[in-house]
Every structure is written in C-alpha cells, then in structure tokens.
C-alpha cells in the first residue's frame, strides 16, 4: 500500500508530533500553571483577593482563548520568528502551541484548585497559615489528582492542535496527513495517520487517568 520510504516518513512525523506535544505542554505549563494559581488566589473569594489582577488576567486569557488556533498561529508569526528564528517546522509550531495552550491550562488549573473545599482552606487559616502556605501545602496537594486529570486533557488537546499546526508548515503527523492525504489525494495515508492519532490520544488519556487515580487518597 505504501510506497517505499513512506513508513520512514510517518515514523519521523510521529516522533515530531510527540516532541512538539510534550515540549509545548511542558512550556505551556510553565506559563499556565502560575497563571492558574494567580487566578485562584486573587479571586474575590480567594485566599488573597486582588480583584483587579483577577479580572485583568481573566480577560486576557479569554481573548487568547477565543482566537481560533490557526489564526492565532499566523498572527503571532512575527513573534515566533523573533523567538526561534523561523516560522516553519516543529520548532515554530511549539511557539504557537504554547501561546494557545497556556491560557487553556490556566483555566484547567483554576477549575482543579476550585474543587478544594472552602472549609479545608478555612481550617488552614484558623491554624495561622499564610496565603503562600495555603497554596503550597493545601491547594496544590489537595488538588493533585484533579491537576493530573487536567494535564491528561491538556496534553491530548495540544496533540490535536499540533496536528493542525501541519497546515502552516508545522511538521509532524498533521503535515503528512494534509500534504499526502488532502493535497495529493492519498486517502489511505490520511486514514493511517488519523488512526495513529486516535491511538496516541487513547494512550495518553488513559495513562494520565491511571496516575491520577493511583495518587488519589480519597478512594
């Protein structure tokens, strides 16, 4: 079915996709996690309410999140060029992915931390815990299982985005599916790639859920 060399091509693309996804998830968390923590802490009912910070951050996050990914990746091209010196290939895609994913992750983190019961936070306050101690010793550890579930959602979503990055020369499995499957009409290759993506998403999701379950002491 495949011409010679096709397998090798798909193999390279597979690793490109994994590389893009994991690297951009990592960097997106570096930005998104603190943003999520700030959102929760500065909330009007949070541990350290600063409404102006909370609202401004919320609006910025909503704006970035409302721009469709393909448009976002094109819009930030000048920035991408500045950051990694190129606007095509996996490296450039990572910049786009991380800009798109960071606000998404901030919201995931926010919702995970909000699951922590108010009463537990109040109890910590009654023991004289400072806002920072509450964050580090109560909010994050208590929300850990939920944060892990969130990270499984984040990594699969970013994988989906990375396939879209193929449209603008981002490389990876998405690029192959588009170049061969769509532009050259080789549907079989496209289907193989789609199946491959489905399998990767299933594995990542299941893996994340299992870790979350293992670490949760509530069960």
């Amino acid at each position: 079915m495949f011409k010679e060399g096709m397998m090798a091509l798909v193999g390279i693309a597979f690793w490109e996709s994994i590389y893009m996804t994991l690297i951009s998830t990592f960097f997106a968390y570096l930005i998104g996690l603190p943003l999520g923590l700030i959102l929760v802490m500065t909330d009007g009912e949070g541990v350290r309410p600063i409404p102006i910070v909370h609202q401004t951050l919320g609006i910025i996050i909503n704006i970035v999140r409302s721009v469709p990914f393909l448009i976002l990746i094109v819009t930030i091209m000048p920035f991408t060029k500045l950051a990694v010196g190129t606007t095509i290939g996996p490296k450039a895609a990572i910049v786009g992915l991380l800009v798109a994913a960071a606000p998404f992750i901030a919201r995931l983190v926010e919702s995970s931390l909000k699951e922590v019961e108010k009463g537990v936070i109040e109890a910590a306050q009654s023991m004289g815990a400072s806002p920072l101690q509450i964050l580090v010793k109560v909010l994050i550890p208590e929300a850990k299982p939920s944060l892990l579930v969130g990270s499984a959602i984040a990594v699969t979503t970013i994988l989906g985005y990375s396939a879209m990055a193929g449209f603008v020369g981002g490389g990876g499995l998405g690029a192959i599916a588009i170049n061969y499957g769509v532009h050259r009409g080789q549907r079989d290759i496209m289907y193989v790639i789609v199946v491959l993506l489905v399998v990767i998403v299933q594995i990542l999701q299941e893996f994340g859920m299992q870790i979350a379950k293992r670490t949760d002491k509530r069960l």
């Binding site: 009463g119 910590a124 009654s126 004289g128 109560v138 208590e142 850990k144 002491k217």
Partner: protein
C-alpha cells in the same frame, strides 16, 4: 474565692454582611467573657449567629464593630502576620472535620506544626503523641477516607491541639456524628479540658451537648445573647423564650401538639431522687392520673437530672394535691405555657 481570669473577651461585637439591599446584621453588640479553663457553651437555633460568633473569636470573620481579646491581648488591632502567630494558640474543630484528604492522619496532625515552623522530627513525635492521646495511636498511616466520622473528628482534635493552644473552638463538632460517637468525642473534649486545662468553647444547637460538658452557657438568639449563666441554673429555669425552647424541646418544634395546652407542668428531678417512682406515687396517692407528655434523664456534672412534661387533671383540687405531693419531695415544678 479564687479570682477567675478571663481567657476570651468579646467587647461590643457586631457583624453585618452586605446584601444586595442594605446589610444583614448577624451579631448585635455582643459582650462576652470566657474564663480560663472553663468549657463554655454557645447555643442557639440555626441562623442565630453562633457560627459567625465563634469565627469572630479567631477573626476568620472580622467583626464590623468591637474588640476581641485573647488572654489579655487585643487581636482586633493586630496586623495579619501577628494575627496568624496568635492563631497558633487557638485550635479549631469543625462539623465536617476539614481534614486534608491527601494526607495521612499523622501528616494531618503535623500540618499545623509545619505551618508554625516546627522541625520535622519534633513535629512527628508530637503528632504521634497526640494521636495516641485521642485513641488513634494505631492508625497513624490511615487516610481520612479510611476513617469513620468519629475517628476523623479525633484526628481533627489532635490536629487542633498540636500547637499547644490555650483555647479550643468547637463549631458544631458533634453535629455530623451519631449519638454514641458524639458521647465519645464529648468525653474526649472534657478529658482534654481537665487534663490539659485548655479553655474550650462549644458551639452547638443541641442542649444535650451543653449539658454533657459545659460549665457555663450563653443562649444566643437573633444575634444577641438572650441569657447566660451556669448550665445547671439555665437548665432548671430558663428565663427567656429562646432558652425555654432549647431546654424543653431541644430546639426542635413539636409539630404533633398544636396550640396551647392547659395545666401543663415541667417537673425537674435532681440527684438521687430520680431513682424513686415519684410520679407513680403521686398518682396512687391522689387517685388520679397525670398525662406524661415527654421526659428525659441525663447526667449533669456527674449527677442525674431528669425533666418531664406532664399534664395534670382539670379538677383544681386534685391538681393542687398532686402539686403539693411533688413539692413535698423537693421536686421542682413549674407551670409552663406550652409544651
């Protein structure tokens, strides 16, 4: 007589919460002194403001007006950082326990010590000692989800005691527990009070909890202290409507009996006489029957107390004879308006 020292002093405490229109006044100018080493009860129906009041003691809620003193030092004027320091000397336990679900019992008790900056080894040793004290020395490694309600509250008590507080605040600490477990937890609190001399403030809506462990009680109604005094005194003769409702009915409205009933009396038995069949004797002696409406018996500071609501016959002469019989036997009888 020894002079009692004040541990907690609330001075003119008012608290209102802003609402969409105007504000809701939950506490109205409350003055309260709680003595060192006593078990002080604050009782009221739900919505009376008692939970807000206890949160004003450690300033989880900032009172809108008034001052709070702990052991002579004003808390209300302290900056956040110093207030946090002061909170190490006030433990608190809650109705829903509020343990950290991702930590073991031992780690939960270590938590306030970590907060206070106690070295790990020392914290661990202290936590083990405390869990032993509350009877959970064998369950150090258990997670809260593996413990029963009563055990969780014991962990919470150990946790509240970790920083060697002067005061333990209990916010409806037994309301989520069944009667047997409640009795155990109350015994533990009493024991802690006696052995460690910690002042305990108990918030509850159950008169039985107050009677079990408190020395003094304040009845709070509609954001104000309706009456305050020794538990025995209030139990025997509540002066206010809120007090009567709590003492006679345990705070629950009796839907079954509607409207005022006539010739109703509340009979209070004290000490040893509960053993004698006084009511039976009265009925035989007077050759008339009394209608028993409700009754209960409980221990109060080691003595048996019983109270009973009875309805006596409409015939005045018989009624008088029955009352005389009861009064002769040093049983307290008072006519009550409703049952």
């Amino acid at each position: 007589m020894e002079k009692k020292e004040t541990m907690i002093h609330l001075e003119g405490i008012s608290k209102s919460f802003p609402q969409k229109r105007g504000s809701l006044e939950v506490l109205k100018d409350i003055d309260l002194k709680i003595e060192k080493g006593e078990v002080f009860g604050i009782i009221g129906l739900s919505g009376a403001g008692k939970s807000t009041l206890v949160r004003c003691i450690n300033l989880l809620e900032r009172p809108t007006k008034g001052r709070v003193y702990l052991d002579g030092a004003e808390l209300t004027c302290l900056p956040e950082k110093e207030l946090r320091q002061q909170r190490h000397s006030m433990g608190m336990i809650f109705q829903q326990f509020q343990l950290l679900m991702q930590r073991t019992a031992l780690e939960n008790v270590c938590f306030p010590l970590e907060i206070a900056g106690v070295p790990k080894e020392k914290a661990r040793a202290r936590a083990e000692e405390l869990l032993d004290l509350v009877g959970l020395g064998e369950r150090l490694g258990a997670y809260p989800s593996q413990l029963s309600g009563g055990q969780k509250q014991r962990v919470a008590i150990a946790r509240a005691l970790a920083t060697e507080p002067k005061v333990l605040l209990c916010d409806e600490a037994t309301s989520a527990l069944d009667p047997n477990t409640t009795a155990g937890v109350l015994r533990l609190l009493k024991d802690i009070n006696e052995r460690l001399g910690i002042t305990i403030v108990v918030i509850t809506h159950e008169m039985s909890v107050i009677q079990e462990i408190c020395n003094r009680v304040a009845i709070i109604d509609d954001g104000q202290i309706a009456e305050m005094g020794g538990v025995e005194e209030i139990f025997r003769a509540p002066k206010t409507k809120a007090g009567r409702e709590l003492v006679y009915h345990e705070g629950t409205k009796r839907e079954a009996i509607e409207g005022p009933m006539e010739n109703c009396y509340r009979v209070v038995f004290r000490g040893g006489i509960s053993g004698e069949p006084i009511l039976g004797g009265m009925m035989l002696e007077c050759n008339a029957v009394a209608n028993i409406l409700s009754g209960n018996t409980r221990m109060l500071d080691g003595r048996v107390y019983g109270q009973m609501m009875i309805q006596l016959p409409a015939d005045k002469e018989t009624r008088e004879r029955m009352l005389a019989y009861l009064r002769e036997r040093e049983v307290e009888v008072e006519e009550v308006q409703y049952v």
